[in-house]
Amino acid sequence: MAKSKVVSLAEAMTHCHDGMTIMLPGFVNCGVSQTLIEGLMQAGIKDLNIISNNTSVKGKGIGKLVHDDRIKHITCSHIGNNEETCAKVVAGEINITFVPQGSLCEKVRAGGAGIGGILTPTGVHTPMQDGKQLLEWDAAAGKYKFVEPDEPQNGARYILETPLHADVCFVHAYKADKMGNVVYHRTARNFNQTFATAADFVIVEAEHIVEVGELDPDEIMTPGALVDLVVQANMED
């Protein structure tokens, strides 16, 4: 029988440390790992580099880390749902890198899939191309060429987006078995499935932990092979 990956919240936190880069999937405050983030709060872990889509809402989820100044840098697509994040970014207390939402997901997918980068049309001729390499399809030559931002465009143009990777990823599951096989629920799946592929260490919090064999192999959305630990989610968090 497979060894159980189920541990206490406190034990899971021994795998987290100051200054780590951590992926916190979720959309606004849906599908965010509330229990594991509460664990970071209790463990006093700080100076975090966060990769997420948003920063939840004020005082909840990632918003707790924002409120208590645990974050050094955020890579995300939108912070508008949390006025406290906006204020701290303006005050220079948190550094931020905006990435278009689809590009964010693709960068993480590349990081998890062993791909050296992706070409996306998203953000071409916008501030999102600043400092990045641009490629344009040269139909006559049948290959891409690198171009400068101010060159006239003569073919399909793309930004070369590089992979993202993290030390740790927190995943919020609806159901997980003791081997870490995961099922997500409705739109709480969002970034969890992709982000779970791109960290050295993956900790799942599950609303329901079930025995191995209870999940139908076809319903499993994230294979347990990607998961290191499973923690019981506390739905009060």
Binding site: I79, P100, G102, S103, T187, N192, T194
Partner: protein
């Protein structure tokens, strides 16, 4: 279908006339979602949301079961209609960028005569981020901007060439305002329709971009 009762509803109602039965539509937060109140008779659309669902059916009302784990692109609880489906963000943005969304509707700070759109960042002001807007405009089959024709100071929001940080370059197909429907074509912005409450001269005067004015400009009907 109910009739519009104010300028914002006129914009939503006219925009909804672009929808065809069975279309997959992505509607920005705020005014664009009002289009659903004005669907033409016989037209049913499927609402895509960037966070991973097709078939959103609006906020839960009294007596509705509270939708656990289903939110819209603003993070607010939403119902999912029968036949709706949920998926991960990777699938969602593949769908969006890959040209599978029929119509995207969103707002603008400025849009220009080439169809370039600025709607996420005002220079000198803190930005909240672009979310999925840049992906949506780069991939949708048709992108429609719905906006008041001028800003609160009376300056045109449709300009010859915007200097603002872009959301997308040459991405907008139509601009719908309380005064006009403007079709962005390779030749330039064409004034296709005007509101019953205005004149071609007024629209031209309130538009920063040089409009192409056909001989017969239609009047919007609701």
């Amino acid at each position: 279908m109910r009739k519009p009762t104010n300028e914002r509803e006129m914009i939503a109602c006219r925009t909804a006339q672009f929808f065809q039965d069975g279309n997959i539509v992505n509607l920005g937060i705020g005014m664009p979602t009002q289009c659903l109140d004005f669907l033409p008779d016989g037209v049913d659309v499927w609402v895509d949301t960037e966070n991973g669902a097709i078939g959103l059916a609006g906020a839960p009302g009294e007596g509705d079961e509270f939708p656990v784990d289903i939110v819209d692109a603003g993070g607010n609880p939403s119902k999912l209609r029968v036949g709706g489906c949920c998926f991960d963000s990777f699938t969602s943005f593949g769908y969006i960028r890959g040209g599978h969304v029929d119509i995207t509707v969103l707002g603008a700070y400025e849009v220009d005569g080439e169809g370039s759109l600025a709607n996420w960042m005002i220079p000198g002001k803190a930005a909240a981020g672009m979310g999925g807007a840049m992906d949506l405009v780069s991939g949708s089959k048709i992108t429609i901007v719905m906006t008041m024709h001028c800003d609160k100071k009376g300056n045109p929001k449709i300009v010859q060439k915007t200097e603002m940080p872009l959301t997308g370059w040459k991405v907008v197909d139509y601009v719908v305002t309380e005064l006009a429907v403007i079709h962005i074509t390779p030749e330039g912005p064409v004034l296709e329709e005007i509101s019953p409450n205005t004149t071609v001269e007024e629209v031209v005067a309130k538009t920063g971009a040089k409009l192409i004015v056909p001989e017969n400009v239609k009047v919007m009907s609701f």
